[in-house]
């Protein structure tokens, strides 16, 4: 009995196969384009999932919306603009470069510069300290006397 449970337990991952949310695709080319676009979009219900992979009802509705707009001939950018106008920038996985996202986009580079500058100064200070003669002439004399004796 116990072995059977263990066996079943081990087999669990086999059954737990997850795939992208499947929608009935009438037009495979359009469907592919929709999925590519939907991967750039966030599902607002389950925020760490893309619109392409989410099974939430809202995500299904939004995929339908994207599909419909595509078949109407709207460009990807038009569709993104439409969704941003309804849900805000948060619907995009890649936040747009705006004044209030400067810190997000350029903060890491500023930190890198700051840290690099700090390191540079520190190393220069250390080198300056090392290039000073380690021993005064008297001490040098004493040392060689000791070594030679």
């Amino acid at each position: 009995m116990k072995q059977l449970f263990i066996l079943l337990f081990c087999l669990m991952p086999v059954f737990a196969q997850a795939g992208e949310a499947q929608d009935l695709a009438k037009d495979p080319v359009l469907e592919k384009r929709m999925i590519v676009l939907a991967e750039k979009l966030r599902c607002l219900v389950c925020q760490n999932e893309s619109l392409a992979s989410s099974h939430a009802e809202l995500a299904e509705d939004l995929r339908r919306e994207v599909r419909e707009q595509m078949s109407k001939g709207n460009s990807d950018q038009q569709i993104l603009d439409y969704l941003v106008s309804k849900y805000g920038d948060f619907v995009l996985y890649e936040p747009p470069v705006k004044s209030y996202t400067f810190l997000l986009w350029f903060g890491p580079f500023a930190l890198l510069l700051l840290a690099g500058g700090g390191l540079f100064l520190q190393l220069r200070k250390r080198r300056a300290a090392q290039s000073e003669p380690a021993l005064t002439p008297e001490a040098q004399q004493r040392a060689s006397d000791l070594l030679n004796s």
Partner: protein
């Protein structure tokens, strides 16, 4: 001395940011529709599906649009507050029954009381997308010119009603 102060300052700064982050709700995404015209709709009424009702019928009035559904658990939490509000006759509340079966919605309203001045049915959730709905219940305060002035994401709390929604309605009514 500096070698102790600098890390301390960095630590305190980071702790400050993280502390602030603890109190932010990532599910509350600010709506870009605030201060923009409310998307228009004309939908079948919940009680009389052969008749439609829409934003045009509310022109010149300050009103609330409450997006709800019978399958939505937090809507039930919010429901008594809405019933209470409707008794006070302060503001018309239009119910948008979102992605729901009209039968289920009507059953729920019959059982728990109907706080809505009028209900419309958005069975496919298309108007929901227009309004940027992503988590029912959501409530919009719309002014006389049809501009969205406030959006409550999630159930209306007593606090939000008292501190934000009611004062805003009073202010909008004066205009």
């Amino acid at each position: 001395m500096m070698r102790f102060i600098l890390p301390l300052v960095i630590f305190l700064g980071l702790a400050g940011f993280l502390y602030k982050g603890l109190n932010l709700d990532p599910h509350e995404v600010p709506s870009p529709l605030i201060d923009k015209p409310a998307p228009t709709f004309s939908l079948p009424q919940l009680h009389q599906p052969n008749k439609t009702f829409g934003t045009d019928d509310m022109k010149g009035k300050v009103w609330l649009l409450n997006v709800w559904a019978s399958w939505c658990v937090s809507c039930r939490e919010e429901h008594p507050l809405l019933v209470d509000l409707s008794r006070q006759n302060i503001v018309p509340v239009i119910g948008l029954d979102y992605k729901d079966k009209p039968v289920d919605a009507l059953t729920m309203l019959n059982k728990a009381g109907d706080p809505y001045t009028l209900s419309v049915s958005d069975a496919e959730g298309r108007i929901g997308i227009d309004y940027g709905v992503y988590g029912v219940p959501e409530t919009y305060v719309i002014d006389k010119q049809g501009i969205i002035r406030y959006k409550q994401i999630g159930p209306i709390t007593h606090q939000a009603l008292r501190d934000k929604i009611l004062p805003l309605i009073a202010e909008l009514e004066k205009k």
